[in-house]
């Protein structure tokens, strides 16, 4: 997975002019809507790929992979595998952060006050070691390391305590997932770059990069919106970055007026989709650069406030990145807002991550005095 992350995390030098240096998928759709329609339907005259593309656009890459596989759409499968690799990498980073935070907070409390969390930390502090030489309670789970998608919905140990049931949640499910999906994701990224010349639209549709061949830019210079350059984790710099991007995207949208696919771009809210993908890419970059407050700005915007009840729910990676950014900036309680949605929709791993984070939120509040007011 490191290779994939490295591939996607590096950024090129920002340019001053807010113009795309590469033709974006958005422009291709505006210019040749027929190509978009053909892509969405049946590339080989077989089963429609529409559901796969919609799932990809909505940030549901596992569903997309199933749909593309059913449609026999190899390029779609590659796109889905790449997104799965990114999602599980994000989940793994989040899981590692939760474990680290629990460990840090437990150190401030009397030893023995939380047996389940102490066991979680003992296992999760080094998943590679725990899976290679698992402690007794973790042995059965460790055996499932190679097929982890179904893991995480149940604790790996439960015990009746005095007046409650103590549940120990698996702190290495996302780690296992990332281990399994990483090679596929990295291979998909490389193969996609090779296919970009043959099918530039399919290789980049709905993505945050101009073309698959330019995936390495991680979209930081997409539309020429200069990313924050200061080392400080300044949220205002992230807001300015977003505004710069918005301005450029608005100009781009205006420039596409009159093109045959302009109506399609507008009606299908494709510019919004491009912006959301871009925001998520920025959140990922900021998290990897240890700028959590900036990541939170990008992730908050990617959750699409004000989109209305009819809008699709946030992509899964938006929920993961928001939770991670919130947690990294001390907002454990806010992370739960996203994790609850993820647990309702996402892979089983989300259930355990949600429970662990809610334990952490309570743990952090044990020494505090609650405040409440009428509103």
């Amino acid at each position: 997975m490191l290779a994939l992350l490295a591939l996607l995390a590096c950024s090129s030098t920002p340019t001053a002019a807010p113009q795309p240096k590469q033709e974006l998928w958005l422009q291709r759709v505006a210019q040749t809507p027929d190509a978009f329609q053909a892509l969405m339907e049946a590339p080989a005259g077989g089963v429609s790929s529409r559901d796969g593309w919609l799932a990809l656009a909505n940030g549901e890459p596992r569903a997309a992979l199933a749909d593309f596989t059913a449609a026999g759409n190899h390029l779609g499968e590659l796109r889905a595998k790449l997104d799965i690799g990114l999602l599980t990498s994000d989940l793994n980073r989040l899981e590692r952060r939760i474990v680290a935070r629990v460990k840090e907070r437990l150190a401030e409390r009397p030893a023995g006050s939380s047996a389940a969390l102490e066991q979680t930390v003992a296992v999760g502090k080094d998943c590679a070691v725990a899976l290679a030489t698992p402690p007794a309670a973790f042995a059965a789970r460790a055996a499932s390391h190679s097929a982890p998608w179904s893991l995480g919905a149940e604790p790996f140990a439960t015990e009746q305590a005095e007046d409650y049931v103590r549940r120990t949640w698996d702190p290495c499910v996302a780690y296992s997932l990332a281990q399994v999906t990483s090679p596929d994701g990295t291979a998909a990224a490389l193969e996609l770059q090779g296919l970009a010349d043959d099918d530039p639209l399919g290789a980049s549709l709905f993505a945050a990069w101009p073309t698959a061949a330019k995936a390495a830019s991680a979209s930081s210079d997409l539309l020429g919106a200069a990313p924050p350059t200061a080392a400080a984790d300044d949220p205002q710099a992230a807001l300015d970055h977003i505004r710069s991007f918005d301005t450029a995207l608005q100009a781009l949208s205006t420039s596409m007026d009159g093109q045959p696919g302009a109506g399609l771009v507008r009606d299908a809210l494709l510019a919004n989709r491009l912006e959301q993908a871009w925001l998520l890419a920025q959140a990922r970059v900021a998290l990897n650069a240890n700028r959590p407050h900036q990541a939170l700005v990008y992730a908050n915007r990617a959750l699409n406030p004000g989109a209305g009840a009819d809008a699709p729910p946030p992509p899964l990676d938006a929920l993961v990145l928001h939770a991670d950014a919130a947690l990294a900036s001390g907002r454990t309680r806010e992370a739960l807002d996203s994790l609850l949605q993820l647990a309702r929709r996402g892979p089983p791993v989300a259930t355990g991550l949600h429970e662990l984070t809610s334990d952490l939120a309570v743990l952090e509040g044990l020494g505090r005095q609650g405040d409440s007011r009428e509103d």
Partner: protein
């Protein structure tokens, strides 16, 4: 230089600063400004600008010293010594000392004061002055991070005659804090102007904050769009899309874990009867009440759904008029052509809500229609903020109350539902809930605390002290002319001294 001259110089320096006010809208202006009696979010937000605690949250939500400078926790964790920041001045130029901290703690404790903040110092056994800038605190039980409990606002001892403080003390209209902004004027239009305090020990950039009372949230959004406001504390869900599209406005999440409710006053004989409370609950269609306000999540208990304490096994109550009728019949009521009657008296309820809260007024009117269709007469009463404090908080003079609670990240409902709780104005009393809340406060294992609080949720849902309604997605909107805005998830203005105007 004398203290008075120094103060004059500071005020002059403050007045020379460029005047670019940040005007923010609240549904209602605080009735009084005194942290000892703050009960509303609008008061809490204003207090954040004017007053300070010994500690406050930094932007990673860790306790950081404010009026404190350093602290030392004893090895047995039963006491601490706090060293105070030197050179801090009250807004009248007097120096801040340990006497002020001691006074605040003692005023909160004083039963004559009847401070709504009394619970926040209950864990302190004693407070003793060591020197002008040092004090010792001892605790009732071992504390692991007492600094996390020392966020309450400090008030000046010299501004009061004794620790028995009255709500009507002159301080309420001439408050004195140590915060970055001082109350400059209560204006005729009910707005409050707060100017940058030139003697502030830290830094601040915005020259003036103005709290504007704007009761109609629809109007608030328009004012922001027309540059007549710089900040809208809460955006109605239905306005989110419009404001999001406005490039001159930035949206910030402001989730305060808040929920709406209709409370039953259990000092009223008929509302002490569980069947009557349950019947009334079953007459209410919360979805229909919510629809005019916007989208939100219906709730089954006293937590928002993403809370660690929310019990997802407790279903949201659904309107069931037939069962409601059966329960009222069981309670001895008879249905006549127009109403439910017992002992010759029709079932008539007075519901109180805030006068300056348009959305609440809409809900009350719709609720009145719902209940009246089912034979329950409802008399709405819209109270001014001052009357609200008097009738709801002090006298308990109501049948039903429509309001909303906001909680910080600890979501501690002890004060609302424990029989000794300082915010339990519906007078709910249930021994099992008291026991569970006491146990939860003592729980050292977070999983045990979660389990206990989820039991509390189930008990409360069963006992119906309130009809739990909904939580709304909550965002704040701020003009892009204001920069470096970071909003505290509960107190909002905690880091307002870092805001700048463009």
């Amino acid at each position: 230089m004398s203290r008075r001259l120094a103060l004059t110089a500071l005020l002059a320096a403050s007045a020379l600063a460029f005047a670019a006010p940040v005007r923010y809208a609240e549904d209602r202006a605080p009735a009084i400004v005194n942290p000892l009696f703050a009960t509303s979010m609008s008061e809490a937000r204003l207090n954040e600008l004017v007053f300070e605690g010994l500690f406050a949250d930094d932007q990673d939500l860790r306790s950081t010293p404010k009026l404190a400078l350093a602290w030392e926790l004893a090895e047995d964790r039963m006491s601490m010594r706090v060293r105070l920041r030197q050179g801090v001045l009250w807004h009248d130029g007097e120096p801040f000392t340990a006497d002020d901290v001691l006074f605040t703690i003692n005023a909160m404790r004083n039963p004559t004061t009847a401070s709504t903040e009394a619970g926040r110092v209950a864990w302190i056994r004693s407070a003793t002055k060591v020197s002008e800038l040092e004090l010792d605190l001892t605790f009732v039980a071992p504390e692991y991070s007492p600094q996390d409990k020392l966020h309450f606002k400090i008030v000046p001892a010299h501004a009061f005659k004794s620790t028995a403080v009255s709500r009507t003390d002159a301080f309420r209209t001439s408050p004195i804090g140590t915060g970055p902004y001082r109350v400059a004027k209560f204006n005729d239009d009910n707005s409050i102007s707060m100017d940058r305090w030139g003697g502030y020990w830290g830094t601040s950039y915005v020259d003036t904050f103005v709290l504007r009372e704007v009761a109609d949230p629809n109007y608030q959004a328009k004012l922001l769009s027309y540059d007549s406001l710089e900040s809208l504390v809460r955006v109605l869900p239905r306005d989110l899309a419009t404001l999001r599209a406005d490039r001159r406005v930035e949206l910030y999440p402001y989730q305060t874990n808040s929920w709406w409710y209709i409370g039953f006053n259990q000092r009223k004989a008929n509302l002490q009867e569980p069947e009557v409370r349950k019947a009334l609950s079953l007459m209410v269609d919360a979805s229909s009440l919510l629809a005019p306000i916007g989208t939100g999540e219906l709730l089954s208990g006293p937590f928002v759904r993403s809370s660690p304490f929310y019990n997802h096994d407790v279903p949201v109550s659904q309107a069931d008029p037939e069962r409601a009728a059966a329960l009222l019949t069981e309670a001895g009521y008879q249905r006549t052509a127009s109403s439910w009657v017992r002992n010759g008296e029709p079932l008539t309820l007075q519901i109180v809500t805030q006068q300056n809260l348009e959305t609440a007024q809409d809900v009350v009117i719709n609720l009145q229609a719902q209940l009246q269709r089912q034979g329950v007469e409802v008399k709405p009463v819209f109270l001014t903020p001052a009357d609200w404090k008097q009738r709801v908080w002090r006298e308990g003079d109501f049948d039903l109350v429509l309001s909303q609670w906001s909680f910080d990240r600890n979501e501690d409902i002890y004060e609302q539902f424990h029989s000794k709780g300082s915010r339990n104005f519906v007078h709910f009393k249930e021994e099992a809930v008291d026991t569970l809340l006491d146990q939860a406060r003592e729980a050292a294992d977070p999983q045990r605390k979660k389990a206990l609080m989820r039991q509390v949720h189930a008990h409360i849902a069963q006992d119906n002290p309130m009809i739990f309604l909904w939580t709304l997605d909550s965002y704040s909107a701020v003009s892009t002319r204001i920069q470096h805005v970071v909003i505290h998830p509960f107190y909002y203005f905690t880091w307002a001294n870092e805001w700048t105007t463009n």
